[in-house]
């Protein structure tokens, strides 16, 4: 396994300090980027093969090419630092431990698209990250990496650090823009409001994830050939029933089994039961799928609809987990985080939550199994945005792989898993 680099200095206590960052080669990539044309910067990102790490996995260079080149048009870069997908904590780790790595990536990327203002939309709860970023931005500014005429290149950039108000929905890029503009975080209609065309304040906007921009920093620090030679690294947040939860940097397409091994295996020698491979929005997978590579293309190809790499948050569940309880809890999360804009998400999640509540309190009915899949069907393909569409896949997968657990709850009004492991 190649050496990790995104996380290389993350645990060094002084990495947030500009001097230290510089002594470890920081801002060299920026110097190089500013010495070539913006178009050449985009070319290099293209060649690196970098894909967005926010969840959708869209090629970053291609996204930037949608931004119009006309210098008369105001363009913005918006950094999606509203990391909210359950089980995901890689961006927070990057921002807290190595804020300059992100800031350097922001400057390079803003230069590439010709933005004079970049906005970091930071999740409000991340106060440590906020302090780290605030300090790093101030340092970078006074050292001439931000502000007017950066490194005498003639390029100007200001970074605005904004915080959200605690909505998972704001992680969706158009809802994020609404929130950044001061409104309710509700997704915009696409078309016409593709951020690259009509984004922040109706201006062309590139919305990029924190990790994505940190990759950009390394692509310019070491060159795209070097970067590609690393085997397309990706950060995976591993949580749940593993021995050593944490952020792991692995080459793309490492199997789920391998990642679990890296995290010390299932804790306490228990048996693996299921996992969310890409945050709670990806369908759960049982043991039979452990050898699936964690990669953008392989996961959606397995025969479990709705599974995906997503934000690369691997949530591991061992045999002590009651799947009815797990899915019920997941449904409640989406119910509480639904923005309320569209009917199926707003009403469907509530209804599902009520059925799960009943089932988990000994009031399940046989017809509830059909009802659950019926509600899920009504939500599939009908929701305005991916939030509501995220609920049916895991529910359906659980009904397929763990139907007996539901049936036991319904039949007995009790939880066999809980009773078995209660002691």
């Amino acid at each position: 396994m190649p050496e990790s680099f995104l996380l290389k200095y993350i645990s060094e206590p002084d990495q947030a300090d500009l001097e230290t960052y510089l002594s470890r080669g920081g801002y060299a990539g920026l110097r190089r980027a500013l010495s070539i044309a913006p178009e050449a910067v985009i070319d290099e990102v293209d060649k690196s093969g970098l894909r967005g790490r926010g969840g959708a996995g869209f090629p970053t260079g291609r996204k930037w090419r949608f931004i119009p080149k006309d210098p008369a048009i105001t363009r913005y870069l918006v950094v999606n630092a509203d990391e909210g997908e359950p089980g995901t904590f890689k961006d927070r780790t990057l921002m807290e431990g190595d804020p300059h790595q992100l800031i350097e990536g922001i400057i390079i990327s803003s230069y590439a698209i010709g933005a004079r203002h970049a906005f970091i939309y930071l999740r409000r709860e991340f106060s440590t990250a906020r302090d780290a970023l605030t300090g790093a931005i101030a340092q970078a500014r006074s050292a001439g990496y931000l502000g007017r005429n950066i490194l005498r290149s003639g390029y100007d950039l200001e970074i605005v650090l904004a915080t959200g108000a605690g909505a998972y929905m704001a992680g969706e890029e158009t809802a994020l823009l609404e929130s950044l503009e001061g409104r309710r975080a509700m997704p915009r209609l696409k078309p016409p409001f593709y951020p690259a065309v009509k984004g922040l304040y109706m201006q062309p906007t590139a919305v990029n994830n924190v990790e994505t921009l940190c990759h950009v920093t390394w692509i310019f620090a070491k060159g795209y050939q070097w970067y590609k030679a690393q085997g397309t690294p990706i950060l995976i947040s591993v949580s749940g029933h593993v021995a050593r939860p944490g952020v792991y940097e692995v080459p793309l397409a490492t199997t789920i089994r391998k990642v679990i091994e890296l995290a010390g295996g299932v804790r306490g020698g228990r048996k693996f039961k299921a996992c969310f491979p890409g945050g709670s929005s990806s369908a759960i997978l049982p043991e039979a799928y452990l050898d699936t590579p964690m990669d953008y293309d392989a996961l959606p190809k397995v025969d479990v609809p709705g599974t995906m790499l997503g934000s690369a948050a691997l949530i591991v569940m061992d045999e002590t987990a009651c799947m009815v309880e797990i899915i019920g809890r997941t449904v409640e999360f989406y119910r509480d985080e639904s923005c309320g804009k569209c009917t199926p998400c707003r009403e469907g999640t509530v209804w599902l939550g009520q059925v799960f509540h009943r089932m988990l309190h000994g009031q399940g009915r046989t017809e509830d199994l059909d009802l659950l899949s019926g509600i899920a069907k009504g939500m599939t393909g009908t929701c305005f945005c991916p939030l509501g569409e995220s609920v049916p896949p895991s529910l359906n997968a659980s009904l397929r792989f763990f139907r007996h657990e539901y049936e036991h709850h319904i039949r007995t009004g009790r939880c066999d898993v809980r009773e078995k492991y209660a002691a």
Binding site: D336, T343, R346, T349, V355, G381, T382
Partner: protein, 818 residues
């Protein structure tokens, strides 16, 4: 106009062509294919929230919302496949799980899109066995609006109406997801002049009108198509009538006037029609009080009094509340039967002001306001006077139009006003001169103190480069101490920019009264009296074609003892005239006063004979709007007691006087009018005739404050007030609240007045008690006092011989120490 590109698509096997840019929903609807829908409203851009309008599109894996999907060439769409049906049923089932299904007691039942679409597209059963959502209900959102939260399906139409159509952000969404609720910002009462529209577009019974709750079922209402006469915009309305009562007023679509909207005065301001205070029998003064009498006796008494005087010693005032036909017959009655030229509907005009020198009305078409690229509002508070016109201007601002306002009080729409020139009383003329200069390209002369010259230059530049400018002057400018100067500068500005001056003046059917000849110096149709004389003689017999006295001159004549009889028709002089003292003096010297009205107004209380008249909602005929548009009014109800239509009263009186005024109905009068008034026709526009305007003169110096009266009074308009009619329309009276005046915080501080606390405003003439509103929308040293509150009449403070009214304001109870 260039040919719009079209696309060809297939919906349910039907090949259709549609303009590029239309949505699949629109294309289907135009082809008569029904797709159920809730959140989409055709006056607003698509939202895609309710997910009801799902369709299947070939080559698309998922169902698509047809309201957001642009029709494309070769697209093959299905609206009724099993997959689509399943999608629609799923959405309806979701919508209904928490909808109370209290249709039998819901005002919307019977005209409810959710109910209708559930019948047509719904699953017919529900799998929902859980407890439904429950809320404390209903929630009052102000004087007009009630919210039943559990009925709300969160379509966002009402919220978007406030954002997109009215620009008042009256309603917003609060909380998240399933807990989302519609409410007002800061949970204050709704701040809107258009909230009735949200009730109209609510697809369920979540938003209902306080005035209509549990009053009627839709199928018990008989709709009567008519025209609103409360302000002058002439919005098309439908009165819903149940038995002999108007249960509610709704907007009727009129593309050239109100589109599909109304203001809240229009929605809720017709309740006075069946108020118990309506006059039902004629009244006669006997031994100091009134007694009810018969028409026979009342008319005999008037006829006998008229028989003892000569024509020129009789005068008539009022008429803006009449129909065109009433006004025309009144003109005929006074000129041909009584033989007096002293008739004028402009009872609220200030003597010697340019009010009397200009023709009231708009040359610009209402619909064209939306196309304006620059709107100049000169002493014209558009939302307080002609609110629905603002909705057109709002559309213009969406297209990038610039609004410039020259007013002594910042407009409510100031968020959309690019340049607000807030001026001191008496300085508006100087601002206008500077602005007109700058438009002319000459360097602006010195701008008045407090007015930014750079802003003036920038505003002038925007105006100068506008290709479709609209200029409006309102009463506040015309009645200002420097009104002549404002008018002249406005005229000059219009000449420079090649546009016409819209005189935003006259309520109700003032335009129709003008057109019908209720003026001392012109014949019907605005023609010179001498020119029309022979035609009029042919139609009416002998008549006087002299020029008579204007409304202020009639009062002067009465004060001087020059009148024997005064008729007041559909006007409350005591409150309408600019100077109440003059009216009192006039009444004191008047031997005989006849008042023809629907209520015992303050003026009627001083009358010798009071004749009960019908109101517009009880009449058939026509009225004319501020843009000169002639529209039908239809009798929705028949009126109380023995009340009669105005023209019929005058015709009966003519008979007593031995003259014949005989018409079979309004149609016959209208046809006769068509012969005398060029261009008169239903839904046609009559032109505004502009007399030549004067040249700008140097600014007058404002009068200086008299001892003890340090503040300047700015009389103005409020849409919601408490006058004869509005105080008897409960919703409007509630919206208006108690009389109020606006003070600058500095002045409020000086006198220790707190917001909402009572203050007394005193001038050399009199005093009124009002509640203070404290806001920097007026400049220090000024007090804004709205007209229209009969309990605090502005005209008790005003002496029309003084150009400026100085007042003092005292806090009635000193503010509690904080």
């Amino acid at each position: 106009m260039s040919e719009q590109p079209t696309v060809t698509l297939t919906i349910d096997g039907k090949a259709l062509s549609a303009h590029k840019g239309t949505t699949v929903y629109q294309a289907a609807t135009r082809a008569g294919i029904e797709i159920p829908i809730f959140c989409y409203h055709d006056r607003m851009p698509p939202l895609g929230a309710c997910r009801m309008c799902l369709v299947k599109v070939e080559k698309q894996p998922k169902l698509q919302t047809s309201c957001t999907l642009e029709a494309a060439d070769g697209m093959v769409v299905y609206t009724d496949t099993p997959e689509v049906k399943a999608g629609q049923e799923a959405i309806l089932e979701f919508l209904l799980i928490n909808h109370p299904l209290d249709c039998p007691i819901c005002d919307k039942g019977g005209e409810c899109p959710l109910q209708d679409q559930t019948y047509k597209f719904g699953p017919g059963r529900s799998r929902f066995v859980e407890a439904k959502r429950d809320f404390a209900k209903p929630v009052s959102l102000g004087p007009a609006l009630v919210l039943d939260r559990e009925r709300c399906i969160l379509c966002w139409r009402c919220v978007r109406f406030g954002e997109i159509i009215a620009g008042d952000d009256a309603l917003k969404g609060f909380e998240r997801g399933f807990s989302s609720e519609i409410n007002t910002p800061f949970t204050l009462p709704v701040q809107s002049k258009f909230i009735g529209n949200t009730i109209a577009i609510c697809p369920v019974g979540a938003l209902t009108a306080k005035s209509y709750r549990f009053i009627s079922r839709p199928w018990d209402n008989r709709p009567v198509q008519s025209t609103c006469t409360l302000c002058g915009v002439g919005c098309a309305v439908e009165f819903d009538v149940r038995g002999e009562r108007i249960t509610r007023t709704r907007a009727r679509e009129h593309p050239a006037v109100n589109d599909i909207w109304l203001c809240d005065l229009g929605f809720f301001g017709h309740a006075f029609v069946d108020h118990t205070d309506r006059l039902r029998r004629p009244l006669m003064r006997r031994e100091g009080g009134f007694v009810e009498t018969t028409w026979d006796e009342a008319l005999s008494q008037i006829a006998s009094r008229l028989g003892r005087t000569s024509g020129p010693r009789v005068a008539m005032l009022g008429g803006a509340r009449l129909t065109n036909e009433d006004a025309y017959v009144a003109t005929r009655f006074f000129r041909a039967v009584v033989g007096t030229p002293h008739l004028d509907h402009r009872v609220d005009a200030r003597p010697q002001s340019p009010d009397l020198a200009v023709s009231w009305g708009m040359g610009t078409a209402i619909a064209d306001l939306a196309l304006a690229d620059c709107v100049v509002l000169i002493g014209c508070d558009i939302t307080e006077t002609y609110p629905v016109l603002w909705l057109r201007m709002k559309q213009a601002t969406e297209r990038g139009a610039t609004i410039i306002a020259v007013t002594p009080k910042a407009l409510e729409i100031q968020r959309f006003v690019r340049w607000q020139f807030l001026h001191r009383s008496g300085q508006g003329g100087a601002v206008m001169l500077a602005l007109a200069d700058a438009v002319r390209g000459t360097a602006p002369r010195e701008a008045p103190q407090g007015i930014d010259r750079t802003a003036l230059a920038a505003a002038a530049k925007a105006l100068g480069s506008a290709s479709r400018p609209v200029v409006m002057i309102g009463r506040t400018a015309l009645d200002a101490p420097d009104g002549w100067q404002m008018l002249a500068a406005s005229g000059e500005m219009c000449r420079k920019t090649g546009t016409e001056l819209n005189v935003m003046r006259g309520k109700g059917n003032a335009f129709g009264a003008t057109a019908a000849g209720l003026l001392p110096d012109v014949a019907p149709g605005g023609r010179a009296l001498a020119d029309a004389a022979s035609e009029l003689r042919q139609a009416w017999g002998s008549l006087t074609t002299e020029a008579g006295m204007t409304a202020p001159e009639i009062l002067d004549a009465a004060v001087a003892g020059g009148l024997d009889v005064l008729f007041v028709i559909g006007a409350d002089l005591a409150n309408d005239v600019p100077d109440r003292e003059r009216w009192r003096a006039a009444r004191a010297r008047l031997p005989f006063l006849v008042v023809q009205d629907a209520f015992l107004t303050e003026t009627a209380q001083m009358a010798d004979v009071v004749l009960p008249a019908l109101v517009a909602a009880e009449k058939d005929g026509t009225v004319t709007s501020i843009e000169g548009r002639v529209q039908r009014v239809r009798a929705a109800v028949s009126g109380p007691g023995d009340a009669r239509g105005d023209w019929a009263i005058l015709a009966a009186l003519a008979a007593r006087l031995g003259k014949t005024i005989a018409y079979s109905g309004w149609e016959e009068i209208f046809n006769e009018m068509r012969g005398l008034i060029p261009g008169l026709g239903i839904d046609e526009r009559l032109p505004v005739r502009h007399p030549p305007l004067g040249k700008p003169s140097e600014p007058e110096r404002p009068a200086s404050a008299a001892g003890g009266f340090p503040l300047i009074l700015i009389p103005g308009e409020a849409l919601f007030d408490r006058g004869v009619l509005t105080s008897r329309s409960p919703t409007i009276a509630d919206l208006a609240g108690e009389p109020w005046a606006m003070l600058h915080p500095d002045d409020a501080g000086t006198i220790d007045a707190a917001d909402g606390e009572p203050v007394v405003i005193t001038s050399a003439r009199g005093s009124v008690a009002v509640r203070a509103r404290i806001s920097p929308v007026v400049l220090p040293g000024h007090v804004f006092l709205p007209r229209g509150y009969d309990a605090a009449p502005v005209n008790t403070l005003i002496d029309v011989n003084e150009p400026v009214t100085f007042v003092q304001v005292r806090a009635l109870a000193p503010a509690a120490p904080s």
